[in-house]
């Protein structure tokens, strides 16, 4: 509103048409940008609002008409019910949570540990078959996850890794590694090779230069790799469902499905669990967010 008033008063002092059009255009642009942003924000936020809203409703209120976003009788009863080891619905929560944590943390750690040297090699060294190998790694991401489920299952059966952490972690690395390698290669490409040459002359070995000079400069990329791998592994469903199906190996997303079969569609329990599952991701994002954003933008410029 203030912009319009200002334009009106200045139109007296300046040639009216020129200034008016400029200002109207700017206003129109802003309106479009804000409207678009709001639609997108609603699109992203509404399911989460609904999730939280349902999670704090008493079970009896879920289907009450008219539907309310802000519950009249807010309660934490659902959270207690799904996490309490002595209730039927909360019995395995601890096990699932531990499984998810182990698998996700290991996936993200191994992703960084493998992707960083691999990306460095792709960025710096010349070796036979480099282009083919790089393409082969990226080609993995051209197919949907589910395409590889049966081959992976056969492989894991042969290796006797079904229903083990190792099996699931290896399966997760098949999709976290390609993106991590690609992302980190972009970072290494952006670091002038003179920096590590200088480090080698200043007294580092090749590996020392990588650890002391190159890796610290890649912190945003490493953080992005950690977040991406962790979130992907934490949320993953089809591989977990098929490669880790025994009760004591299930992860949280798989465990959530049992709110339907065991308790006849326990919506409040499901949503309460969903809220709890989201919390670690939110926390990790809040800690590493600024690195993640700069990683994505830098990668975009340099790739």
């Amino acid at each position: 509103m203030s912009a319009i008033t200002q334009g009106g008063s200045q139109a007296v002092a300046y040639p009216a048409r020129r200034f008016g059009i400029k200002q109207r255009r700017a206003l129109l642009r802003l309106t479009i940008i804000y409207a678009g942003t709001m639609v997108l924000a609603l699109f992203a936020a509404l399911p989460m609002v609904w999730m939280v809203s349902t999670a704090i409703k008493p079970r009896s209120d879920v289907f009450r008409e008219p539907t309310t976003i802000i519950p009249t009788n807010a309660t934490l009863e659902n959270f207690i019910r799904v996490t309490e080891p002595l209730t039927p619905s909360g019995r395995y929560f601890g096990t699932y949570f531990l499984n998810s944590t182990i698998v996700s943390v290991a996936s993200s750690v191994f992703s960084v540990m493998i992707a960083a040297p691999a990306a460095y090699a792709f960025s710096r060294f010349r070796f036979p078959g480099k282009q083919v190998a790089y393409f082969a790694i990226l080609a993995r991401n051209m197919f949907p996850l589910i395409v590889f489920l049966i081959p992976l299952f056969t492989l894991m059966t042969a290796l006797q890794l079904v229903n083990t952490y190792a099996g699931l972690i290896i399966a997760y690395l098949t999709f976290t590694l390609p993106l991590s390698i690609w992302l980190l290669k972009g970072f290494f490409d952006g670091i002038p090779p003179e920096l590590e040459r200088a480090a080698r002359i200043d007294g580092c070995t090749r590996f020392g230069a990588f650890v002391r000079i190159i890796l610290p400069l890649t912190t945003p990329g490493l953080a992005a790799t950690v977040i991406y791998s962790f979130v992907q592994a934490w949320n993953e469903f089809p591989y977990a469902l098929n490669l880790a199906y025994s009760t004591n190996m299930r992860t949280l997303p798989v465990g959530m499905t049992f709110f339907f079969s065991e308790n006849q569609s326990d919506w409040t329990g499901l949503m309460a669990t969903a809220v709890i599952i989201s919390i670690p991701v939110v926390i990790i994002f809040m800690i590493l967010q600024r690195y993640f954003v700069s990683a994505l933008t830098q990668g975009a410029v340099k790739a």
């Binding site: 040459r197 200088a198 002359i201 200043d202 007294g203 580092c204 020392g208």
Partner: protein, 370 residues
């Protein structure tokens, strides 16, 4: 400080020779410049001395020790890079300290040496800053500081001044040279700028296509170029190189070029060189200073004066370069006469100064003199 010796150093990438049998001796305390056009192998040579690139064959000795297989860190060298290669995540202090820290120097000694280097270069006020907060000139100083902080045997510098603006470059050129003299440091310096090579070096090594063309003092390479490449590369504007034929008049050799270009030498040395030339085609080399313009060339009755037509005039203030045409030859001459009024198309005369001419073999491009 130490001597650096290159013996038949070769670097090949597949079938291409980047550096071809280069031999050089860089004496203790000398400032030696490797100069040449881009792709001539000068940076590759420097990187081989540094140990960043492996030799294909040959030997490199630093202080009488063969270092071919030593890691860069074990060669006791320091290097300044064209883009400075300062560690962006470290402060100036940490950058200067890094080479000492890597060599396990204890903290107090590190501090003393960092402060000494910072003082020499006048960067004590910048020690807490990060490289991106510095100007180009300041970054350059820090890069030099990181090199001299630990008294290496040899300093290697890869076009350290080329990212500075023209004014600062001239200033830093003088400063670097002064510093080198004061420290008595052995420096191997790479540049593509022949003026930098001339002004800074004790000795200049001119390279082209991976081959060492000539190695000598600036005076030698300027006044006694070994071949047409050196003659054309050193000096600005470059030496005039004219394709001529030897003819004999009354038994004396005369160089005949296109148009009215005739040059009849009088000195026995040049006569002898022409008589002994392997072919009748020779290249006559002459710098602009040795063919001064004679304003009224057409009226000049001196037998040595060659008539020419002005192609263009380039006044630079103290010297005026005059491009002239003699037949098909395009030459650069010059005059110190501030009242020079020649215009395009004017007829002038060129006086050849016989004591400053050069003769080169057309086939090999090598000099025919000395």
């Amino acid at each position: 400080m130490a001597e650096v010796i290159l013996e038949n150093v070769v670097k090949s990438y597949g079938s291409t020779l980047a550096v071809n049998r280069v031999s050089l001796t860089i004496k203790d305390g000398e400032f030696v410049t490797l100069v040449g056009p881009s792709g001539c192998g000068k940076t590759t040579t420097l990187n081989m001395i540094a140990g960043l690139i492996e030799l294909t064959s040959g030997n490199i000795k630093i202080g009488n020790k063969i270092v071919n297989d030593l890691d860069p860190k074990d060669r006791d060298i320091a290097m300044v890079f064209q883009n400075y290669a300062l560690y962006p995540h470290k402060t100036v202090y940490q950058n200067l300290e890094f080479p000492l820290r890597m060599r396990g120097v204890d903290k107090d000694k590190r501090h003393a040496q960092v402060m000494r280097a910072a003082e020499i270069l006048g960067i004590t006020a910048l020690l807490d800053r990060k490289p991106r907060q510095l100007s180009g000139g300041q970054q350059q100083r820090v890069a030099v500081g990181r090199a001299l902080v630990r008294d290496p045997a040899v300093f290697l510098m890869d076009e350290p001044l080329s990212n500075l603006d023209a004014k600062l470059r001239v200033h830093m050129r003088a400063e670097l040279k002064h510093l080198q003299g004061e420290l008595g440091a052995t420096v191997v310096y790479v540049t593509h700028d022949q003026l930098e090579a001339m002004t800074m070096s004790d000795k200049v090594a001119i390279m082209n296509h991976g081959v060492l063309q000539q190695y000598g003092t600036p005076d030698e390479v300027f006044h006694k170029p070994a071949n047409t490449f050196v003659a054309g590369f050193m000096g600005s504007p470059p030496m005039n190189l004219l394709s001529t034929m030897i003819e004999y008049v009354d038994g004396d050799p005369v160089l005949v070029g296109d148009g009215a270009l005739r040059f009849r030498p009088k000195t026995p040395k040049i006569k002898a060189a022409l008589q002994n030339a392997p072919s009748r085609r020779v290249i006559l080399g002459i710098r602009h200073t040795a063919i001064p313009i004679v304003q009224n060339g057409a009226a000049d009755d001196s037998a040595d004066s060659v008539p020419a037509e002005i192609y263009t005039v380039e006044p630079t203030g103290d010297v005026t370069f005059v491009h002239v045409k003699v037949g098909e030859h395009l030459l650069v001459s010059s005059t110190n006469d501030l009242r020079f009024t020649g215009r395009i198309g004017d007829q002038v005369g060129l006086a050849f100064d016989e004591s400053h001419i050069h003769l080169f073999d057309t086939e090999t491009t090598h000099t025919l003199l000395n």
